[in-house]
Amino acid sequence: MSLDRVKELSRAGKLAENYGEVPSLLAGLDETGLRRAGMLLARVDAADVDGARFTVAVAGSSALQPLEAPLTAQLARHGFVPDVRLGGYKQYGMELRDPGSPLFDVEPDLTVCVLDADEVFKHLDTPWTAADVRDALTEHAEHIEALVTAHRADHAGALVLTTLPLPRHWAAQLVDLRSRAELGIAWREFEARLLRLAVEHTGVFVVDMEPLVGVAGPLLDPRLAAYTGVQFADGVLAALAREVGHIARALRGKTSKVLVLDLDNTTWGGVLVEEGPLGITTGEGPVGEAFTAVQKAAKQLASQGPLLAVCSKNDEDKVRIAFRDNPDLTLREDDLVALVANWGAKPDNLRQIAEQLNLGIDSLVFIDDSPSERGLVAANLPQVPVIAVDADEPALHLHRLLADGWFTTQRVTDEDRVRGERYRTERKRMEFRERADSLGDYLAQLGTTVELFVPGEAEVGRIAQITQRTNQFNLTTIRLDVAAVTAALSDPDRAVYGVRCADKFGDHGIVGAVFTSTEADGARRVDNFLLSCRVLARGVEDAVLRTLLAQAKAAGAPALHAAHRPTAKNGAVADFYAKSGFSAVGEPGGGSREFTHDLAELPPPVQHVELKTLTTV
């Protein structure tokens, strides 16, 4: 039992030095086990542990000691060294307003403020009416909005608020049904106002408690509430802690990227090699529909950024036939970015999937019904979260899949929505390249088109992302945020261009950016030029550079200047300008090199690349 090991380490005073074991020990525990382990982990001083610290300050309108253990366990489960600090009983108003409060002795990565309904009702005089509650809620909402504004002004760390489900013991004190409806309306309008804070503020997240209470209720334990002021039962606090754990992961950029599906009795019912591609259970009938629900949820997740892959002990040809020919499957091979079906060990196959997608193994989440396969993966790849489903009860598969928010992210970008498509076309492109007779042949048939454009508001985020993420084809490695890109766009002496690229297999989207400026003598300068590795070595960079040269010449500029500033990763482009007809004119130091082009003679148009005209000069 892994909980026993946690106890043993705790008793021996050796938890801190063996904290590396903790995520694996917690991986298989249920909520009770996590709560119990969390109590022991909460006794460890985070300062004694090496690792990525995550500090959470907890404030609220009720007694919240019972949140400490599950929250500590959830953070530890994700590999953080948790430092959970509880505020004073009902002190949240003071604490959120006062950055000097002891709760903020250490500046937290996250502040969690847990609200509850008693806070509202206990301030009312008895008897009260639905209208009284409405007035109290309006005041409460203004109070909370002011606290959020104050917190945002004082703290860099994020803020999590919770909605507050309406307990029946308050609603039932109204006897007329019309008033009860009015209470319900006022309550939901108040909750909607709280949820709106998450839309209006960056760094503010609101956990909607209602769906959590639906699966993890009851909301409260009346005896605990009456005698100790704790307004939430353990199940609900465990569910909240789980949500906060995934918010912490998302804030640290640890959101999972790939959902890897087992097939037999996980994605569909039955064993493919026995039942045949048309004999598996999916689609029709109650059990088939349970599996279809899993497929639809996977497809739904994949529409927002996560990639789908298959890792199955199976005959590959039968798997491909099933995906192609079984009319009752919701998922098709086209929905997958990787398909590994063989009789090899799953840890090896998962490693292969990660390599194929050029992602870290810790980007994967694996779901399987076989305890032995899951055990093998957990033992060999402890960085991969494993979702357990039970072959005997497919109705629970969907709920197991969604129990943890592995793919929780702050915001989905346009790039996220088409990521799966990009990976799939890249695979087709590779297959096509392997079949082509020569590189020239391949490029000729690829039909690459390139477009330079001036980014609008919708594209600025992606341009900033390119400056943050691109390491190799990044000539001067100047990283910019959204505000800096916007500033460059509005400066009359500077210009920003996005680079869009497509070919016969599909659209690559925005793959590059160019930043230029005009100098005092009218000469143009390339301040930075960036391209994603996905589109290198097929003439795109040459086509873009030729456009910049032609543009400078057309504007009557005496020259186009450019520079290479070396980093650990951009060595491959050190000679890019020299190879493109520029003359080296100086080495200002630090390994940087300056180049210039006199614009007398433009390079010839790039073969195999169709350039779409640039609209603005």
Partner: protein, 77 residues
Amino acid sequence: MTETDFVELVEAETGLPLDTADLATGFDDLPGWDSVHLLKVLSALEAEHGITLRIAQLLDAKSLGDLHAAACAAVAA
């Protein structure tokens, strides 16, 4: 229920390191003990042994020994 079983359950529910000698220790002298722990222990005893405890009365309990005695009486009844 033996004293050892009882102390194990209290440890699991509170995370406090205890042994059977602590049964006689007053709650005031038990480091880290609070009223939430009391409720958690009583609820866990009820769930584990299928008993109902008079929690309102046990709020005045002075030591773990009092809780153990009340639980044993409820099991025997």
